[in-house]
């Protein structure tokens, strides 16, 4: 704590000005953010912005709270754009959120009723002009092409208009109607929601707009009845009762309406992960390969990256800049594209690798060749990253340290083993662990290359190169629509595994001392 407490003494004029400008900018941003929130009457949002701004001022106007001053900008962004979405996702893991269960019960009811609207058989199709009356309320000006009669319809009902009151343009469109204002398309488009909502009540249904130029007499064959909490179909007398456990309307004969809603299912998704044989069965074998893949990916990329960095770590080496640039190229290419290119290069009959080497190896047909192939691809994609980082790290090792080792008579290997590597690991262990974590969940690396292949005959669920994440992805999204709730529960499990391993990994390494000293 020796560095803290004296900071004010050295505050320069520049520092002060920058501070004032930044705080001013913060205030300006807050105002910019709050004005539309007030307009939208989003009081919680207003409160949040106000609170955040107050917090920022509290932190930066005080001479204390130094660490916070440095941490707050990143933390706010992290909380808003990473932590909050993750929390939301975790929250969905106790629901049946997914295709067929996306919205609320009201959404489902609306969808069911809308989907049941059909045209009344043998009813006329009208030409429509959307108009407003003196009060600005919507009126449908209708003409029945079969009879040549004109009508005006609104929420009250349908009235016939004298033929003389309606005027048509050259194209046959209704352009004017006495006593009403016919809207232009753009005007009508602005009242789109009102137009869709209007059904002019007539015997046997309502006249609804079908676009802006046609109208038809439609009837909703199904309607929600709050008294029984069910959907009724009067024509057949059938009812579907709301089931709050499954989020579906279910009939007595077991028929289920497709439009469901989101309900809480408690821990069902979690118990499914543990008890479902399809999930649990291959879990251990996938987990084992998953660890191997992540570990091997980190190891080979680090080894090659470090090797190259060491090779080029010499002053005045000829062509050093060119080598460096070429080595970094794989990292500069879009990864998803190169994954696809690599996949094609491994093609048994037409791939570049077999063609060049004169081989006939079905790379993705055998478990171990496929595994070797995906690790090789990861090596290609990832080693420039390790090369860059190692190059940076090597620069920061004081040359005196190495000189000292040399004077002590250490061979190049000894000085690397005893001096360089330990120093490198101090700064790079956190990176290696996070790289491990990244590769543990490296979805694209598998999905875009083998897609999990090879699959044992009779098992399309789990392949030899499947990672937990590609495997659960197939379970959660490969079935009948996306099951986000279940996917979230799977992710929580995977997360717990990776997190535990990483934390243990940390405690076991010397990096711990550096981090916690």
């Amino acid at each position: 704590m020796t560095t803290v407490g004296r900071e004010f003494r050295g505050t320069s004029l520049t520092g002060l000005l920058v501070k004032i400008a930044l705080l001013g900018l913060t205030a300006a941003l807050a105002v910019w953010a709050i004005v539309p929130l007030i307009g939208a009457r989003a009081w919680i949002g207003v409160g949040a912005v106000a609170l955040a701004t107050a917090l920022l001022f509290w932190i930066y106007l005080s001479p204390k709270r130094l660490p916070l001053k440095y941490l707050v900008p990143g933390t706010i962004l992290l909380l808003v754009f990473q932590v909050a979405p993750v929390l939301y996702t975790v929250a969905t893991s106790t629901s049946n959120f997914g295709d067929g269960h996306r919205g609320t019960k009201d959404d489902a009811i609306t969808a069911i009723e809308t989907a049941s609207v059909t045209q009344v058989p043998d009813s006329p199709v009208y030409d429509l002009a959307v108009a407003t009356d003196g009060d600005g309320d919507l009126v449908f000006i209708l003409s029945d092409p079969a009879t040549g009669k004109f009508f005006a319809g609104d929420a009250e009902g349908l009235r016939e208009l004298p033929a003389t009151a309606v005027h048509k343009g050259l194209s046959g469109k209704i352009t004017e109607a006495d006593g009403y204002t016919v809207l232009t398309t753009a005007q009508a488009a602005g009242r789109s929601a009102d137009i869709t909502a209007l059904a002019v009540p007539v015997d046997g249904g309502g006249i609804r707009s079908n676009g802006l130029t046609k109208a038809y007499q439609g009837v909703a064959s199904r309607a929600y009845d709050a008294s029984c909490d069910c959907v009724r179909e009067p024509a057949t007398g059938k009812t579907w009762t709301a089931d709050g456990d499954t989020g579906y309307f279910t009939a007595a004969d077991g028929e289920v309406l497709p439009q469901g809603w989101r309900v809480s299912v408690g821990l069902e998704n979690y118990t499914r992960v543990i008890t479902d044989e399809r999930v649990r069965g291959p879990f251990l074998s996938v987990l084992w390969w998953n660890f191997l893949f992540a570990f091997a990916s980190v190891l080979v990329t680090f080894a090659l990256g470090l090797g190259c960095a060491l090779a080029l770590h010499k002053k005045r080496l000829k062509g050093k800049a060119v080598y460096r640039t070429l080595l970094v190229l794989p990292y500069a290419m879009p990864a998803f594209a190169m994954l696809l290119v690599w996949r094609d290069m491994f093609n048994k009959d037409f791939g570049l690798i077999n063609t060049l080497l004169g081989l006939d190896v079905g790379w993705f047909d055998g478990a171990w060749t496929a595994r070797a192939a995906v690790v090789l691809v990861q090596l290609w994609l990832g080693y420039p990253y390790m090369f860059l980082v190692c190059t940076g790290a090597l620069q920061s090792i004081p040359s005196e340290t190495l000189e000292a080792a040399k004077i002590d008579g250490a061979s190049p290997w000894q000085s690397f083993r005893r001096v360089t590597l330990p120093l490198l690991l101090v700064s790079l262990t956190p990176l290696l662990i996070s790289s491990f974590a990244f590769n543990f969940n490296n979805f694209n690396a598998i999905q875009l290359t083998t897609g999990g292949a090879p699959f044992a005959p009779g098992s399309s669920q789990v392949g030899a190169t499947d990672l937990l994440i590609t495997y659960t992805y197939r379970l959660a999204f490969g079935g009948q629509g996306a099951q986000y709730g279940f996917a979230a529960a799977c992710s929580v499990f995977i997360f717990l595994i990776v997190a535990t391993v990483s934390v243990i990994g940390f405690r076991r390494t010397r990096a711990q001392e550096e981090v916690y000293r």
Partner: protein, 412 residues
Amino acid sequence: MRAKIVGVAVAAMLTLAVSACGAGDDKKGDDASAKEPGLVIWADDKRAPVLESFKAQFEKELGVTVKVEAVSKDLQANFVTASQGDNAPDVVVGAHDWIGNLVQNGAIDPVQLTDPQKAGFNADALKAVSYNGQIYGAPYAMENLALIRNTELAPEAPATFEDLVADAKKLKQDGKTEELLSLQVGQNGDAYHAYPLYASAGGYLFGEKANGDYDPADLGVGKPESVKAFEKISALGKDGVLKTSIGSENSTPLFTSKKTAYLVSGPWAIADVKKSGIKYDITPIPGFKGMDKATPFLGVQSFFVAAKGKHKAVAQEFVTNYVTGKDLAKALYTADPRPPALTAAFDEVKAADPDIAKFQAAGAGAKPLPSIPEMSAVWDPFGKAEAAIVGGSDVTETVNGAATAISGAIKK
């Protein structure tokens, strides 16, 4: 000292805040003009540019601004999420087999077509966009697989699949080609391209209800017929007719580079074939000798009205009264040549483009791709079973494994 700093800071902030208010007001003015009534259309990367080229015409004839947006990846899933998030477009262009999933999510509304409008469409296309007794989209183009043949290498259209294999083997023996057939399988299989052969050998995916809808309770995979059908596919794999090394990325190029005389593909491959200058013919995929016809799946590209769109009335106007017109159907054909679903447009373009009629003939009797949500549980296991069997694995075990996976994934 401290007080002074705070004072200066507050003054500076007030100044900036006031200027921010001014900026904020400006912003609002811009938004008002940007938010004027319009129509937002979502399509994939293939169709968005086609629609974009009609933007000016749409705007003139509809009288509202039109915005065409391309969603490059997972258009269907993003559309569903956007609907939930109150950010949906007004119209979506997609394949008819999305309908089941879009309906269960309440993302699209039925389209009310008049009887004359319905009569104008190809009956199969109309059936494809029907779901639970409602029509959910305005179809505009149809597509199905056919056999595309290099007529210089293979002048005769094979009558049966066995004939095809025999002719292809002869070509290969004579050193004229390197591959017997280009039918994409890929590392993890391709159920869509495998289906015609599977159907010819007697297999089916879902049974049909009395009203012609697919019945998710009657799963055909795992039935004795499906095992028999896959026996046929297994034999083709052993023979080298089907190969997992031929996938979506190289099936057409194998044909255009004359490495094979036969290609099983759809209208989307024709542009490349034409570019290569090969003389070709399009015929139905031949069935196995003495067995059923090799009927492909029928896919129908459609315009859907989003249920949660902000300008639904305009979207309905666009989809029911505008897209269903002959001129637009023809224009869409010109930009992306696939058989128009509108009979009047089809009749006009087929005179100038014989391929269109040939594809239509190849698709005679084609079953629409199942649009029931259960179908999405079939694609992956079915494809993998195909790939494994082509690769030589035991048929019964593999098919039963696929059947277990599919029925396990279908909700009860």
